[in-house]
C-alpha cells in the first residue's frame, strides 16, 4: 500500500517545525545543532515524498547531498563547541553575548 504524499508532507512540516522550535528554545548548543539536523531531515522527508510521488530521481539525489552537507556542518559546529568550551567553559548559547548591539 502506497503512503499518500500528504502524509509525507505533514510529517515533514511537523518535524521541521519541531526542529525550528527547538533551535529557538533550547539553551544547549549541542541540542540546537541536533535540532537543525532535524530540520534538514524534515526537508529530506519532503524530498523523498515528492520524488516518490513523481517517480523522479532528483529528489532522492538531493537527499544524499543534504545528508552529506549536514554532516559537514555539524562537524564544524562541534569543533566550534569544543573551542568555545575551552575558552569559556560553557555550552549554553545565552552565555555567548560579548558581541551585541
Amino acid at each position: 500500500m502506497a503512503v499518500p504524499l500528504s502524509y509525507y508532507l505533514a510529517l515533514s512540516v511537523v518535524l521541521f517545525a519541531l526542529g525550528a522550535i527547538g533551535v529557538l528554545i533550547r539553551r544547549n548548543i549541542l541540542i540546537i545543532l541536533m535540532c537543525i539536523e532535524m530540520m534538514l531531515n524534515a526537508v529530506n522527508i519532503a524530498f523523498i515524498g515528492f520524488a516518490n510521488a513523481f517517480q523522479a530521481i532528483d529528489g532522492q539525489m538531493f537527499v544524499f547531498f543534504v545528508m552529506t552537507v549536514a554532516a559537514a556542518e555539524v562537524a564544524v559546529g562541534l569543533a566550534l563547541v569544543v573551542a568555545i568550551f575551552r575558552n569559556r567553559a560553557t555550552v549554553y548559547v545565552d552565555d555567548l553575548n560579548i558581541l551585541k548591539w
Binding site: 525550528a20 533551535v23 529557538l24 528554545i25 549554553y92 548559547v93 545565552d94 555567548l96 551585541k100 548591539w101
Partner: protein, 632 residues
C-alpha cells in the same frame, strides 16, 4: 581653442593633485605659485575661448564639447561634456577670474598658516568642481560639481578644525545642504523620468512641447529650486551661511560670496526654459528671493562681527538675484551675480585685510578709525560698499537697478517695494560697517593698535583689481542707450525670456534710477547720522526697541527653532532605533504579541536571555511575514 574647454577644470585638478600629494614636501612659495598658477591658466584659457566664441557666427553657437561618454545605460547616456554658451562662458570667466585673484590674495593671507598646502589643495579642488558645475552640459555632471563644491565648502569651513565652532559650522552646512541636494536629486530624477535624458539642450527642447503650467515641470522646477535654496542660502535653508564665516576669509570670499553660493542662481537661469513654463515656480522663486532679501538685510543691521554682516548681506543679495529670476529677468539676475561677485569678493577680502591689520579681530566694536592706517584697504572697501549700496556709477547700481526696474514694469509692485526697502537697509548697514571700522575713535585693543599695518602687495593688488572691476563692471550693462546693454545682448541666446510688457518710457527708467539712488543715499545718511554724528543713538534705539532688536540680534531665533524641531529629534530617534529596535524588536514583538499561546509565550520569554536565539526568532518572524504576505 573651444575644443580644449575641458582643460579649464583640469588645470585646478592638477594643482589639487600636486599640492595634495607633494604639498608638504614642497617649499611654500612653490605651493602658492602652483595653487594660484593653475587657476591663472584656467582663467587665461577661458579668456581665449571667450574671445574665440565672440568671433563665432550666431549660427554655430552654442558649442557642445563631449570628451567621452561617462555613464551609458541603454539609449540613455551621460557624457563628460561641456556646453559653451554665453551663460556658461560668463560664469566660467567670473569663477576663474575671481578665483585667480582670491588665490593670489590667499598666498599672502595664509602665509603663516601651518596648513598652507592643505588650504591650497582644498581650494584648487573647489575650483575644479565649481568649473565642472558651470561648464557641464547635463544635469548629472552639474550635480557632480554641485556635490563637490558642497564637500569642499564643508572641508574649508571646518578648516580650522581646532575651533569647535568651526567644525560645528561645517557640520551644519553639511546637514542643511543635504536637504537641498535631496531636492535637486529628486528634481533631476523627475526630469530624467519625464524626458529620458539629462542633457540640458535636449531637456529644454523636449520641455517646449509641454504647455505652460504643466504639473510635471512645475514639480521639477520646484524641486530644483529646493536645491538652490540649500546651496544659495535662501529661506528656509539659509542658516548655514552666516555660520560658514568660521572658515578662513579668502574662503568666505570665494565660496560663500562670489562663486558657490551663486550656483543656485546659475542653475535657475540655466533652466530658464523650464521655469518659463512654470509660472507658479517663478512666483515661488520671486517670493522666496524677495523675503530672503529683506529678512537677511534686517539681520545684517544688528551684527557686530564684520564677516557676519557681509554674510547676511550675501544672503540678502542672493535673494535679489532670485527675485530677478522669479520675475523673469534672468539676465538681470546673472548680471547682478557677476557684479556681486566683484564687490562682495572685494568686501570679504577687505574684511580679511582689516582683520589682518588688527591681529585677527573681527568684532567691529573693537575697530574704528582705521582709515588712515590702512588706506588701500579703506579705499577699496569704500568702493565696494558704494557698489553694493547701489550708487551710480558703481557696478552694483546697474545690476540692482535693472532688477528693480524689471520688477516694477512687470507690475510686481510688491516685489519692487520689498526690493527697494531691502536696498535701503543694505545701504544703511553697509555704511554702518564702514563707519564703525574706518571712522571715529579707535576702539582697537591698545596692544594691537601700535602695529596696525597695511597688508602686503600680494593682498592689496587683488583688492585694487577687484575695486576696478567694481567700478567699471556695470558699464557692460548700460541701460537706456540703444545697444548699451552689451551684457544682455550677449547673454540672451542662453535665456528663455518670460513675458515682459513692451518698452516703458525712458523717463520712467531714469526716474526710477534717481529714486533708488535717493533711497540708497537716505540709507547712507541714516547710517552717518547714527554712527558718526550720534554714536550714542544706536544703543539708545536698541534699548528703546528692545524686543525687535533682540529678535533681529538673535537672528529671529531660527537656529534655536531648527535645533529643537529638526536636529534633536533626529539624533534621539537614531539612538532610540539603535538601542531599542534592533536589539529589542524581537523582545517587544514577543512581549506584545497577544496572539501567542500562553505556553509558547512562557517558553519564548526565555529567549530574551540569549541573543543568538533572538536572531533566530527574527528569522522565523521574517519567514512568517514573508510567507504570510505571499500566500495571504
Amino acid at each position: 581653442m573651444i575644443q580644449y574647454v575641458w582643460l579649464i577644470p583640469v588645470f585646478p585638478l592638477m594643482g589639487f593633485l600636486i599640492n595634495g600629494l607633494y604639498g608638504k614636501r614642497l617649499p611654500k612659495n612653490l605651493v602658492g605659485t602652483i595653487g594660484a598658477g593653475v587657476i591663472g591658466l584656467s582663467f587665461a584659457l577661458t579668456v581665449a575661448i571667450f574671445l574665440e566664441f565672440l568671433k563665432l557666427p550666431a549660427a554655430s553657437r552654442p558649442v557642445e564639447i563631449v570628451v567621452y561618454n561617462w555613464i551609458a545605460a541603454g539609449k540613455f547616456s551621460v557624457p563628460i561634456g561641456f556646453l559653451v554658451d554665453p551663460l556658461s562662458l560668463i560664469m566660467l570667466l567670473v569663477v576663474s577670474g575671481v578665483s585667480f585673484l582670491i588665490h593670489i590674495y590667499s598666498v599672502g593671507y595664509m602665509h603663516d598658516d601651518p596648513g598652507f598646502p592643505r588650504f591650497f589643495t582644498y581650494l584648487n579642488l573647489f575650483v575644479f568642481f565649481m568649473l565642472i558645475l558651470v561648464g557641464a552640459n547635463n544635469f548629472l555632471m552639474m550635480f557632480v560639481g554641485w556635490e563637490g563644491v558642497g564637500l569642499c565648502s564643508y572641508l574649508l569651513i571646518g578648516y580650522w578644525y581646532e575651533k569647535q565652532s568651526a567644525s560645528d559650522a561645517g557640520k551644519k552646512a553639511f546637514v542643511v545642504n543635504r536637504i537641498g541636494d535631496f531636492g535637486f536629486l529628486l528634481g533631476m530624477f523627475l526630469l530624467f523620468w519625464t524626458f529620458g535624458t539629462l542633457n540640458f539642450r535636449e531637456v529644454f527642447a523636449l520641455a517646449g512641447r509641454y504647455p505652460v503650467g504643466s504639473g510635471i515641470i512645475t514639480a521639477a522646477t520646484l524641486l530644483l529650486f529646493v536645491g538652490a535654496t540649500g546651496k544659495s542660502a535662501q529661506i528656509p535653508l539659509y542658516t548655514w551661511l552666516p555660520d560658514a564665516m568660521e572658515g578662513p576669509t579668502p574662503v568666505s570670499a570665494l565660496i560663500h560670496a562670489a562663486t558657490m553660493v551663486t550656483a543656485g542662481v546659475y542653475m535657475v537661469a540655466r533652466c530658464s526654459a523650464l521655469y518659463a513654463l512654470a509660472p507658479f515656480s517663478l512666483t515661488v522663486v520671486a517670493t522666496i528671493g524677495a523675503l530672503t532679501a529683506i529678512f537677511a538685510a534686517t539681520m545684517g543691521m544688528a551684527q557686530f562681527d564684520i564677516k557676519r554682516v557681509l554674510a547676511y548681506s550675501t544672503v540678502s543679495q542672493l535673494g535679489y538675484m532670485f527675485l530677478a529670476c522669479g520675475v523673469g529677468a534672468f539676465v538681470a539676475g546673472i548680471f547682478h551675480l557677476m557684479t556681486h561677485a566683484f564687490f562682495k569678493a572685494l568686501l570679504f577680502l577687505g574684511a580679511g585685510s582689516v582683520s589682518h591689520a588688527v591681529s585677527g579681530e573681527l568684532d567691529m566694536r573693537r575697530m574704528g578709525g582705521l582709515k588712515d592706517h590702512i588706506p588701500i584697504t579703506y579705499r577699496t572697501f569704500l568702493i565696494a560698499t558704494l557698489a553694493i549700496a547701489g550708487i551710480f556709477p558703481f557696478a552694483g547700481f546697474f545690476s540692482k537697478d535693472e532688477i528693480l526696474f524689471h520688477a516694477l514694469v512687470d507690475g510686481n509692485y510688491f516685489y519692487w517695494g520689498i526690493g527697494t526697502v531691502a536696498a535701503f537697509i543694505t545701504a544703511f548697514y553697509m555704511f554702518r560697517a564702514v563707519y564703525m571700522v574706518f571712522f571715529g575713535e579707535s576702539r582697537v585693543d591698545p596692544h594691537v593698535a601700535h602695529h596696525v599695518h597695511e597688508s602686503p602687495p600680494l593682498m592689496t593688488v587683488p583688492l585694487m583689481i577687484l575695486a576696478f572691476l567694481s567700478i567699471v563692471g556695470g558699464f557692460v550693462g548700460f541701460p537706456i542707450i540703444e545697444g548699451g546693454h552689451k551684457f544682455k545682448e550677449f547673454l540672451s541666446p542662453s535665456i528663455t525670456p518670460v513675458g515682459h510688457g513692451g518698452h516703458p518710457p525712458v523717463s520712467l527708467e531714469i526716474g526710477l534710477m534717481a529714486f533708488s539712488m535717493a533711497v540708497a543715499a537716505i540709507g547712507i545718511y541714516t547710517a552717518y547720522k547714527l554712527y558718526m554724528l550720534r554714536p550714542d543713538l544706536p544703543g539708545w534705539l536698541a534699548e528703546k526697541f528692545r524686543v525687535p532688536y533682540d529678535l533681529i540680534y538673535n537672528k529671529y531665533y531660527v537656529d534655536q527653532i531648527y535645533d529643537t524641531i529638526v536636529v534633536e529629534p533626529i539624533k534621539s530617534g537614531s539612538t532610540l532605533l539603535w538601542t531599542q529596535v534592533d536589539d529589542k524588536v524581537v523582545d517587544g514583538a514577543v512581549n506584545g504579541s497577544a496572539s501567542t499561546v500562553a505556553w509558547l509565550s512562557a517558553h519564548l520569554r526565555r529567549l530574551e536571555t540569549g541573543f543568538l536565539q533572538n536572531y533566530a526568532l527574527a528569522i522565523v518572524l521574517g519567514v512568517t511575514l514573508v510567507v504570510g504576505y505571499l500566500l495571504g
